[in-house]
Amino acid sequence: MLSLFALVGAIETGLVFALVALGSYLTFRILDFPDLTVEGSFPLGAAVTAKLMVLGIDPWSATACGALAGAVAGLVTAFLNLKLRILHILAGILTGIALYSVNLRIMAGPNVGLLNMPTVYSFGESLGIPSLYVPLIVLLVVVIVALVVVDLFLATGFGLAMRASGANLRMSKANGINTAAMTAVGLAMANGLTALGGGLFAQMLGAADVSMGIGVIVIALAAVIGGTALMPSRRIPLLTLSCVLGSVVYRILIAFALNTDFIGLTASDVNVVTAILVVIALVAPGRKFRSVRVRAGASK
């Protein structure tokens, strides 16, 4: 049914968006800050990475700079919210739409081609790894490192303070936590992860494109919510892992949706098929998950 290429492609894309999902987990769940900056910071990471690569910077450094640019975008949203007192959801939207123009400037146009250039996935050839698996390996390593860093961070005193300020802002302030700093750091991390995903995705796709961010937030939230439903837990390392799992499963469901020609569905039906599959995935396992679904919806 599903070819090896389609499966590997689904897992790769899932791993890229797992980085975005991890970021959205930090903002939506840990900080209780619905951050929509990601629709702009995802293509920002791609734009900065692509531009620097075209200028001759090596792909790893370029990707790192892309991630840093994303972190700065997160700080802009934090500034709008904390200093200028703009509603959190609006602050993210504002940064996101501003980034659209910024990305057009950075790339000097809507699209930068990266075909036939050395990318972070190029090293595989010299090591003799089949080219099919190189992006998979690179992304697995990056996602595991990101998971470990986020988990370790959330277990430090600073990380615990961040979780506390998300869970109960007034209590945290009363206990002397600098909640503004927590929000700023959390947004920078989240958008840095998102932009890292954008940079890695552009190199896989062979181009950075200003429209790459469209719908990213929906995909990330589907991964976060779907992941918690698939793997309910209260422990942070399992919750972050479930974001990655949710993202990969979502992509595999899309791969199946793309394979439904045989029952008479056409090219334009893929979105509704995907939505139905996600609903089935959430509902089918029965009561146990149903309670999670409700809890997931009710908690935030």
């Binding site: 890229v16 250039m117 796709l205 790459m212 719908g215 995909i219 899309i254 334009s268």
Partner: protein, 324 residues
């Protein structure tokens, strides 16, 4: 007479070919589009039509898998990966981003791209003649000079030309840049009005009312998606509106020298045919649609011209391929 016998030979050849390939397994053609906009679907229809004209029978000689990424880059990436796994005889990506995704995903499966305005800037090929590798295709650079002189035919006193377009679309950006390059020598200046997203199209049009002598829309899927809203602005503001494709003239623009998208699909089918018969895409020159005979034609909408206060001379009317 000569044409007749050529046609007869073509028919014979066509039937011989379909006979020959009837015994073999059908050739697989995997096609992907980024969005489901009418022009892109016309290209798709043109490809199907062209293949049929060349004698291919779907289900027998060829098997076509057509997928849409519905605007989502993640989905585009997955579709392309699935195609690579299918090992088709040729992958046909429609638009720039899907072509880049296909080129990134495979270096050996033949790729015939179409509806790409600037394949060199997109890094799909390094040169247009025999580009080498597994990729070639059909580009659709807008015939800028012809279009601009057409606008001057309708609006002889053209001094300022407004441009409504979505700066996020590669094709539009290339066109606008080219118009700015020729504007000076043709005696007019340009005023840009960016429409970022569907909702901003009418506003982008309103911003030009009273400031320009005419408005031109490049081959811009965003503007064409809500084109009627721009037509209304142009009518209310008596702003002559010109476009770069036929369908939008039917929908209310005054005129265009248009690329026919169905025709572009047919031309693409010709290249697909060569690839299916064993030619390496790298040995096929990238086809420039503007160089194709009868790819360009003048289309006029008479009532739209009246509503926008433009008088059409009888000579122009005579030149039109079609009047709506």
């Amino acid at each position: 007479m000569k044409a007749m016998s050529l046609a007869a030979a073509g028919l014979l050849l066509g039937s011989a070919m379909s006979l020959g390939s009837a015994q073999a397994a059908p050739k697989k053609i995997d096609m992907i589009t980024m969005t489901d906009t009418p022009q892109l679907l016309e290209v798709h229809d043109g490809i199907i039509k062209g293949l049929k004209q060349l004698g291919y029978v779907e289900g027998k000689d060829i098997q076509i898998d057509f997928k849409s990424a519905q605007g989502n880059f993640g989905t585009a990436q997955q579709i392309v990966r699935q195609f690579v796994g299918d090992r088709p005889d040729v992958i046909v990506p429609i638009t720039t981003p899907t072509s880049q995704a296909a080129a990134a995903a495979t270096k050996d499966i033949p790729i015939v791209f179409t509806t790409v305005t600037d394949p060199i800037a997109a890094k799909l090929v390094s040169k247009l003649d025999k580009p080498g590798g597994n990729i070639s295709g059909v580009s659709d650079p807008v015939p800028i000079k012809q279009m601009m002189s057409m606008i001057k035919d309708f609006v002889p006193g053209l001094k300022k030309l407004g441009l409504v377009y979505d700066p996020s679309l590669p094709n539009s950006v290339v066109t606008v840049k080219q118009i700015k390059e020729v504007a000076g020598s043709m005696g007019f200046t340009t005023v840009e009005s960016a429409a970022m997203g569907l909702n901003n199209v009418p506003t982008a049009g309103q911003a030009l009312v009273g400031k320009v002598d005419a408005v031109f829309v490049p081959n811009d899927t965003t503007v064409y998606a809500v084109f009627e809203s721009l037509v209304k602005v142009a009518q209310d503001g008596k702003m002559p509106l010109f476009t770069s494709e036929r369908r939008s003239v039917q929908r209310g623009a005054i005129a265009t020298i248009g690329l026919d998208f169905v025709r572009m699909g047919v031309v693409t089918a010709g290249m697909i045919d060569k690839v299916l018969k064993g030619t390496k895409p790298g040995d096929l020159d990238v086809i420039d649609m503007a160089d194709q005979p009868d790819a360009l034609a003048l289309y006029i909408n008479k009532s739209a011209a009246e509503k926008m206060g433009v008088k059409i001379s009888p000579e122009l009317m005579k030149k039109a391929a079609e009047v709506f």
